[in-house]
């Protein structure tokens, strides 16, 4: 775990090219801005009293008829776009992180079980994984959120949106963890230290968690970087399609959805700035993730 600590010094010592270091710094700055949104944002977009309809759809400050109070302009309700984006990025990263955490927990657990016990447990888990993998992420996620919308009608949907989104994304992402961990666990299980642990009569739970798990964790951490980028993209896509975060508590995807309705009237900034933030964030995380993957485990390289 320690080897992956994201300090610039370590990256340089590991021989990271300059582009990866720049990407890592950009990613860290963006994540920090998002996490500190409530302190650094000029306005609070969730506070109804802080914005007025009279300020709606003002262009960015640097354009001819921009307003210096709103650096990147305002949205259709008069909210400061920069503030909405900072809070939105926080929502996006929180949901993406939550989904990766859930998927990793689920996938690592099932992967350990499948790899350690083999036989029927293994066959069942991998069969389910195969079926899930044969459907695209977006379809499964839409299905989960569609069912959830029907179960929590009306206002409850908005309240439960983050949880629904996390589950909808994780249902596809756990498979990759399970497959990787299963393969690594099978290798470890055949080694002497595990066989010795079995011989002295340690319970399987203890062997899996204390002895095997630490040795199969490094690919999990590498996968997680790339999966975080993918999860943020899936969340944005769902929110853009209108089945994600509600406009009252927008993520970056929701902001782009709102902006999309105004593109035709020449109001480009509501859609374009959040889109730019999203692409830069995902690109930076992807560059770091790609490099980590190649650096730590060339075998993980998948054809995409």
């Amino acid at each position: 775990m320690k080897t992956l600590a994201a300090t610039p010094g370590r990256f340089i010592r590991l021989g990271a090219p300059i582009s990866v270091i720049v990407a890592a710094i950009i990613a860290l700055i963006l994540v920090a801005c998002a996490l500190l949104a409530s302190w650094i944002a000029p306005y609070d977009p969730t506070d109804l009293a802080s914005f007025e309809l009279i300020n709606a759809e003002l262009p960015p400050a640097f354009t001819a008829d921009g307003d210096s109070r709103f650096l990147l302009g305002t949205d259709n309700q008069g909210r400061d776009l920069l503030s909405a984006m900072l809070y939105g990025a926080r929502v996006s990263i929180a949901i993406g992180g939550g989904a990766v955490l859930l998927a990793a927990t689920l996938g690592v657990t099932l992967g350990l079980l499948a790899g350690y016990f083999g036989g029927r447990v293994d066959a069942l888990i991998m069969r389910v994984a195969d079926v899930i993998l044969s459907f695209p992420t977006i379809l499964l996620a839409l299905l989960v959120s569609g069912i959830a919308r029907a179960i929590f009608p009306g206002a409850a949907t908005a309240e439960w949106a983050p949880v629904i989104l996390i589950c909808a994304i994780a249902i596809h992402e756990w498979v990759q963890y399970a497959r990787t961990v299963r393969a690594a666990t099978m290798v470890e299980t055949a080694k002497d230290y595990v066989r010795a642990a079995k011989v002295i009569g340690l319970p399987p739970r203890r062997i899996m968690l204390r002895h095997i798990l630490p040795n199969v964790m490094s690919p999990v951490l590498v996968i997680s970087t790339i999966n975080l980028a993918a999860a943020v993209l899936t969340e944005a896509t769902l929110s853009f399609l209108g089945v994600g975060m509600p406009p009252t508590y927008p993520s970056l995807g929701t902001l782009i959805r709102i902006g999309n309705e105004f593109v035709f009237s020449g109001i480009w900034w509501i859609a374009l700035f959040p889109a730019l933030a999203l692409v830069i964030l995902v690109l930076a995380v992807n560059i770091v993730g790609d490099w980590l993957r190649d650096r730590f485990n060339p075998k993980l390289r998948v054809k995409r």
């Binding site: 944005a236 853009f240 035709f264 889109a275 692409v279």
Partner: protein, 323 residues
């Protein structure tokens, strides 16, 4: 061989059974269609009448039997929202989605193969590096952002191309096509490019990887040693073999492309199956959701099964392994 065939078909049937069970459970247990369909101030009698006309007052076993029977006959129920048979709605929307997918596939192959070959032949050239960098940006840019940017540039600023709908379509029997009119073709362009870009990166990376693999194989080295012309070696000998997996993957991807068209269709208000599905999700129109799931599930299972069986036919080693 027969064993492989039977086991593949058995697996396919099993997956379809699971998909149809999920579909039925959604159909039956999720949400209250009566509350969704009736007017705000509908009386209790009106609601009961509606419940009866939808068959929701019958015992569960009867409902499940009916569901399976109807599904096998191709009757997937009536949309809660449009009050029309779902099969009819899907048949009506199918051509729009398939035409979009065809255009996207052709575009992504036409661009992806040359770019992939370029990257493989001159891996350190400026063009190859540029293409690689662009492909990373391509992976990180969500489809809907690509679509919005294309609309902003080509529809709003330049006004060259239409930004929504299919334009004028011509009916050929039950198939309505946009290929035969100028406005139809113009309308296909932006959504086609948007959907193709999603596929393009994949094809490009695959062609590059396969090409590099093939170029380092023995028969290519012998061909070079014999002094055959470079052009002949690269395009007649290497590319042909590198393209085999590309064709397979492109075929397998058609299913994903249909599912992924949901996003493109939303951005461009393209009247295909994806738009139908996303509207069904937001209006909790369960029959349409269930039918779409069944349809796409069937498509995936069909494509995967056919590819598996074809592999077994072509490659005897796979037969031995799974038998």
């Amino acid at each position: 061989m027969l064993k492989v065939l039977l086991s593949r078909l058995g697996q396919a049937a099993l997956v379809m059974l699971v998909v149809s069970a999920v579909s039925f459970v959604m159909f039956r247990y999720v949400g209250d269609p009566v509350a969704t369909m009736s007017r705000e101030n509908a009386s209790v009698e009106e609601k009961a009448e509606l419940r009866r006309s939808l068959g929701l007052d019958q015992p569960l076993v009867v409902q499940y039997g009916r569901f399976l029977g109807r599904t096998l006959r191709g009757d997937l129920g009536i949309s809660y929202r449009n009050q029309r048979p779902v099969t009819e709605l899907i048949a009506e929307r199918l051509p729009a989605t398939l035409e979009l997918v065809i255009v996207a596939t052709i575009l992504s192959l036409a661009l992806g193969i040359p770019l992939g070959v370029l990257c493989a032949l001159k891996p350190n050239g400026i063009a190859a590096r540029l293409v690689q960098a662009l492909s990373l940006i391509g992976i990180s840019t969500p489809t809907f952002v690509t679509g919005i940017v294309l609309i902003l540039v080509f529809a709003v600023s330049l006004g060259w191309l239409p930004s929504f709908g299919r334009g004028q379509v011509v009916d050929l029997g039950w198939w309505s096509t946009g290929f035969l009119t100028i406005s139809g073709l113009k309308s296909l362009l932006l959504p086609g490019i948007t959907l193709a870009l999603y596929q393009l990166t994949l094809i490009m990376r695959l062609v590059r990887a396969e090409m590099i693999d093939v170029l380092s194989s023995d028969y290519i080295r012998f061909a070079k040693a014999r002094g055959l012309p470079t052009r002949y070696i690269h395009f007649r000998l290497a590319l042909r073999n590198a393209l085999m997996p590309v064709i397979t993957v492109t075929g397998l991807q058609i299913g994903s492309l249909i599912a992924f068209a949901i996003v493109t269709e939303t951005v461009f208000q393209w009247p295909g199956m994806g738009l139908l599905f996303i509207q069904a999700v937001s209006f909790v129109d369960i029959p349409v959701m269930a039918a779409y799931l069944l349809f796409v599930g069937l498509l995936f299972v069909l494509i995967n099964t056919v590819v598996d069986i074809l592999y077994a036919v072509v490659d005897p080693r796979l037969r031995a392994r799974s038998a």
